[in-house]
């Protein structure tokens, strides 16, 4: 992959990663539900150094009208990075990467949202990346799912997302920014925890078939951990602090 620019040790001989984590340990995750006044639903997440805000509007009227579907509602999703969210200032106009990620996130949420309950309407999901670290699309999805639940949009299941990857020839959970740059593979995954379906999976990097299976399983384990944090966020807002 080229000359290493830094001297970071991705995995030392004690199995500790460059940020002190073990191979199956995710970064710190914090989610708060209901943080915006005007949105129908909202959530804020900190996942490692990712800081992301998600807001949901709807179901509401579709404009322009020709986009409306007579049988079911439609879901629109916008993943957008703030100019100050990354090292080198990012142009505020949507890039092709953001457009693809918006689509992939929408398709990860659609299996869960019961759009057939709201024909001829739209549910808009707006995700703003305030600060980006590795795995921002998974963190964005985690916040979006909580925002949808906060808005009372009927869902068959929650959607929980987490990435796994290959770093120093080892499959690890939740890769951070350095591991993304210097590592060997990155696999973001989104999962519906009660229905057991994967609704987002992408891969950059090379994996043998055995590594692929291990990576999928590791990512799904990560999704289940994130689900507990999403549940806690909703319980805290709606049912009071110690309701579980």
């Amino acid at each position: 992959m080229g000359v290493k620019k830094t001297d970071i040790v991705l995995l030392d001989d004690k199995g500790i990663r460059c940020d002190g984590r073990k191979i199956d340990e995710p970064r710190r995750i914090m989610i708060k539900a209901g943080v915006l006044k005007n949105a129908s639903g909202s959530a804020y997440i900190e996942f490692g150094e990712n800081k992301i805000l998600a807001g949901v509007f709807g179901p509401r009227d579709v404009h322009p009208k020709h986009l409306a579907n007579t049988d079911r509602g439609i879901l629109r999703c916008r993943y957008h990075m703030q100019p100050f969210s990354v090292g080198e200032r990012k142009n505020p106009a949507p890039s092709r990467r953001e457009i693809e990620i918006s689509k992939v996130i929408k398709e990860a949420l659609e299996p869960a949202v019961m759009l057939e309950s709201f024909p001829r309407t739209v549910v808009d999901v707006f995700i703003e990346i305030l600060q980006a670290d590795g795995g921002s699309r998974c963190a964005a999805l985690d916040a979006a799912a909580v925002a949808l639940a906060d808005a009372g949009i009927p869902m068959r299941d929650m959607v929980s997302a987490c990435a796994a990857g290959k770093v120093a020839d080892t499959i690890v959970l939740d890769i951070n920014n350095e591991e993304d740059q210097e590592g060997q593979a990155d696999m973001p995954v989104a999962y519906m925890p009660n229905l057991g379906k994967v609704t987002l999976i992408q891969l950059d990097g090379v994996l043998t078939p055995e590594e692929y299976e291990k990576c999928v399983n590791t990512a799904i384990d990560g999704c289940k951990l994130v689900y507990e944090v999403q549940k806690k966020a909703l319980h805290e807002k709606f049912f009071g602090e110690n309701s579980q």
């Binding site: 992939v104 891969l203 994996l207 078939p209």
Partner: protein, 267 residues
């Protein structure tokens, strides 16, 4: 593609699948017939026209010197794009690319890039100053489903058959040496295999009718060593873990067969 499939056709596709059959008679893991013609655009440094069933893609490779990306002064440039031309289907409108086309281009690009197919370190003219850029542009001219694989096969075939001109450095800038060419530095041949899920059935290389009824799709790219180098799931539904593992196995075995067809292209 906003192909609004009529309900009757969708029922027909699904009930045939329930009986173990596909609407065009193929096996579930059988891709359509693939024909590859290379060198169809002599002015380009590489080109190919492919037909996958009734989907047709024309691809051209332009090779020219360029400035390297900052931080990547020791390697050449590879950029792969894809476009759906208005003549490919009545529903395509001319204009800036929509999210579907953007996803298509990025997935095709990643499949080839992540496999390391082209050894970019062999495309440097002056380190940190000038390198060789390979620009691979796909245009879909006829739509019948599965543009992901069609564009990928067209791009890979164009790259395999391209010829790289020779530049030498004169007065600190690249200068073309007429009539001299070299083979591209190829390390592996990536093959993408796209599978669609309709109900609980997973089918390889969906045609336009199947594409319109799909609940979800997954594109898996493998290299010649049987390893997986890129994955993209798309569509409004999901896959179970078992389905994901089965899709990987299918992409390796079907991919191997397609690799032979690509290698055998008229050379």
């Amino acid at each position: 593609m906003s192909n609004i499939l009529d309900e009757l056709k969708k029922k027909k596709v699904t009930s045939l699948l329930n009986d173990g059959q596909r609407i065009d008679g193929r096996a579930f893991d059988e891709p359509r017939h693939l024909t590859i013609d290379v060198g169809v655009i002599p002015k380009a440094e590489g080109s190919a026209r492919i037909r996958l069933g009734d989907t047709e893609v024309v691809c051209g490779v332009k090779i020219q010197p360029d400035k390297p990306f900052p931080d990547l002064g020791d390697r050449g440039i590879f950029i792969c794009t894809a476009e759906i031309l208005p003549l490919a289907d009545p529903s395509v409108e001319p204009g800036p690319p929509n999210e579907e086309v953007i996803e298509l281009a990025r997935v095709v690009d990643r499949g080839i890039r992540e496999s390391g197919m082209i050894d970019l370190t062999k495309l440097v003219l002056q380190k940190n100053k000038s390198v060789i850029g390979l620009f691979v542009d796909n245009s879909v001219t006829d739509y019948d489903g599965n543009l992901f694989d069609a564009c990928s096969y067209a791009a890979v075939s164009s790259i395999l058959s391209c010829r790289i001109p020779k530049w030498e450095i004169k007065d600190d800038a690249p200068s073309l040496v007429e009539g001299e060419y070299s083979e591209p530095p190829i390390t592996t041949i990536p093959v993408s295999v796209t599978m669609g899920r309709i109900g609980n059935h997973v089918i390889v290389d969906p045609n336009a009718d199947e594409w319109a009824c799909m609940d979800a799709r997954i594109t898996i790219t493998t290299n010649a060593s049987g390893n997986i180098c890129a994955i993209q799931k798309g569509g409004s539904n999901g896959f179970t873990q078992e389905q994901l593992f089965q899709c990987a196995k299918t992409s390796i075995s079907t991919g191997a067969k397609i690799r032979e067809i690509i290698k055998a292209q008229g050379k």
